[in-house]
Amino acid sequence: MNPLTDILNGWKARPLPVASLMMLCLMLSLLTGSELWMLEKASSEADTLLQAWPQDASTLLLPAQPNPEKLIELTQRLPAGSWYGLRINASTAWVTGTLPPDFFTGQGNGFSPQDLHAGEMAVYLSAYAYPQQIPGGLFPFENQAFRIYGVGQFPLSVDKVIPLRSQTASIAELQQLKIALPASTVEPLIKEFLQWQNIQLIDHREKQQLAQAGFQKLKRILTGITIAVALLIAVLLQALYQAELRERKTEFALRRALGATPQNIRNQILGEALLGSVLPCLLGYLFFLPLVPLAPLLSAMILAPAWILFCATLPAMQAAKLIPSEALKGE
C-alpha cells in the first residue's frame, strides 16, 4: 500500500484531531508571519529614520527669529580655519545678499551626504528658496564664505551648507576643502551658544541610538512572543498527539503484529506530522508573501514544520516503544 494513501486514509478516520493539528499549524504560521511582518515594518521604519538622520551629525534647530549677531559671534569664536554649518528650517531661513543661483540646488557641486565622515560635526543650513526668491531676506552669514557640503533634492528637502571663516572661497575651491574640525571641538561651542539663544540641540547620534535601541527592544519582544507562541503550540501539540496516540494504540500494535518495526511506526507518525503541517504552514505564510521579504519567510516555512516535527518526535518515539501484546489485549 502506498504510504501516502495510508496516511490520507488514516486522516479520514480522525478528521477532528487532524483538523486541530492543521489549525494549530495555520495558527503558528499566521502568528509568526504577523511577527515577521511587524519586524519588517519596524525595520523599514527604523531604516527610514536612520537614513533621514545623517550619521555622526548634530542638528541645530534655530528659533523662528534667530539672532544673526549671535550666530556670527559664535562663528567668530570658532578656531581659525575651522568650519561649521547650521541647519535652518526652510521657512525661516534668513537670506541676505546674493548667492549664485545654483548655490542651493547643488547643480554641479559634486557633493553628496556621503561626504560626512564619522566624528565630524555638521550643522546644516537649509533653504527652499534661492536668495533671489526672497529678495531682501536676511542671511546670517553675510560676508562669510560658504561651502556647499551636500545637497538634498531641491526644493523638497534640505541643503547642507557650511559657512567658512574664509572670505574668498569659490564653489570650485570649496570642493577641494577638507573637513577638519571634529565634533568634540565644535559641540561645546554650539552648546554654549544654545544657552544664549534658548535653542534646542538635537543630537542625531542619540536619536539613532534610541531608534536602534527601540528596534532591538521591539525585536526582542516579538522574538519573545514567537517563542511563547511556539511553546504554547508545542504544549497543545503534545496534548493532541498524546490523546491521539492513546486512541491509535491498537492500530500501531496491529501494524507491529503485521511486521512494522518501531522505526516504521515512528516514521509514519513523523510523516503524518510533516504532511499535516507543511500544507497549512504554506497556506499561512503565502498570505504574508507580499508583505514580508522572501528570505525570512522561507526560513519560517522551513522552521515551522521542523518545529512541528520536533513536537511530534517524543510522542512518535513513545508510540514506537509500544508493546504490541499489551495494546492488542487492551480492547
Binding site: M1, P3, T5, D6, N9, G10, K12, A13, T250, E251, A253, L254, R255, R256, A257, L258, G259, A260, T261, P262, N264, I323, P324, S325, L328, K329, E331
Partner: protein
C-alpha cells in the same frame, strides 16, 4: 520426524500488577509441527491469548526458551522479530483489529508496507479477496463490513504471505453458526496449504477440527488425547 516449526521449553510468563505478580503461564512446553492443528481450550483469562502472543513474537517469555524453526528467538533483535512476523506469522485476533477507514483491499494488503518485496503479493491479495468472498466489497471502507466479513478480512490479511505458523484467537467468538462453519472450512484449506495452526477457543465445536488438543490448568499447558 520433521523438526518443529515452533518450540516452547519451560516457558513462564508473569505480569506485574498493582496487587502483585500475576503468573499466567507456568512451565509451558510445546512442540508445534507443520501439520499440526492445535486447539487450545480454556476459559477466558486462562492464558490462551498470552500464549498466542508469545508464539506470534508479540511478547517475550519471562523465563524459558522459545525456538522458531530450531533457532532461539531470545537473541533476535526487534528488527529480526518484525521480519519474522511479517514473513512467517499470520494471526487472527478476536476483536478483528481492522483499520476501519481503509478499504478492504488496503486492509488485506496492509502487511505489504512492511515487506521488502511486495509486488508479487498483489495477485495473492486478489486471490484471497476472491476466495474469502470479499471481492464485491474490495473498495469499501472496512467499517461497512458485517462481523463475518470482517473475520474473513482478518483471515485474508493473515494469509497474505502464506505464513508457516497460523494463530487464531477465538476465531468464531463473534460469529453466528453459519459464518463459524465457513471459517472452519477456510481453516481446513489453510491447514492443507502447510501452515501449522493453533486455535485458541472455548468453542467445543473446534475439537473435531483439531489434530491435537491442549488445555490450561493453573497456567500449565496440558495435552489431552483426542
Amino acid at each position: 520426524m520433521n523438526s518443529p516449526r515452533m518450540e516452547l521449553k519451560g516457558v513462564y510468563r508473569h505480569f506485574e500488577t498493582p496487587s502483585g505478580n500475576l503468573q499466567v503461564l507456568q512451565d509451558v512446553n510445546l512442540q508445534l509441527f507443520a501439520d499440526d492443528r492445535i486447539v487450545l481450550f480454556g476459559p477466558s483469562g486462562c492464558g490462551k491469548t498470552t500464549l498466542l502472543h508469545l508464539l506470534a513474537l508479540l511478547d517475550k517469555p519471562s523465563t524459558g526458551t522459545l525456538l522458531f524453526q530450531g533457532k532461539d528467538t531470545a537473541p533476535l533483535t526487534e528488527k529480526q522479530r518484525c521480519a519474522l512476523r511479517a514473513h512467517e506469522l499470520g494471526m487472527v485476533f478476536q476483536q478483528f483489529h481492522i483499520l476501519p477507514h481503509h478499504s478492504v483491499r488496503d486492509n488485506v494488503r496492509l502487511r505489504t508496507r512492511y515487506l521488502q518485496e511486495s509486488a508479487s503479493l498483489d495477485q495473492r491479495c486478489e486471490q484471497l479477496l476472491e476466495d474469502m468472498g470479499l471481492m464485491p466489497h474490495a473498495e469499501k471502507p472496512a467499517r461497512f463490513l458485517s462481523g463475518g466479513e470482517k473475520q474473513r478480512l482478518c483471515i485474508a490479511r493473515a494469509l497474505l504471505v502464506q505464513p508457516s505458523l497460523f494463530l487464531a484467537d477465538e476465531p468464531t467468538g463473534n460469529l453466528d453458526a453459519n459464518n463459524a462453519e465457513k471459517v472452519k472450512t477456510l481453516f481446513d484449506d489453510i491447514s492443507r496449504q502447510g501452515a501449522a495452526m493453533i486455535i485458541a477457543t472455548h468453542d467445543e465445536r473446534w475439537l473435531e477440527f483439531a489434530t491435537r488438543f491442549f488445555y490450561f490448568e493453573q497456567g500449565q499447558l496440558k495435552e489431552r488425547p483426542l
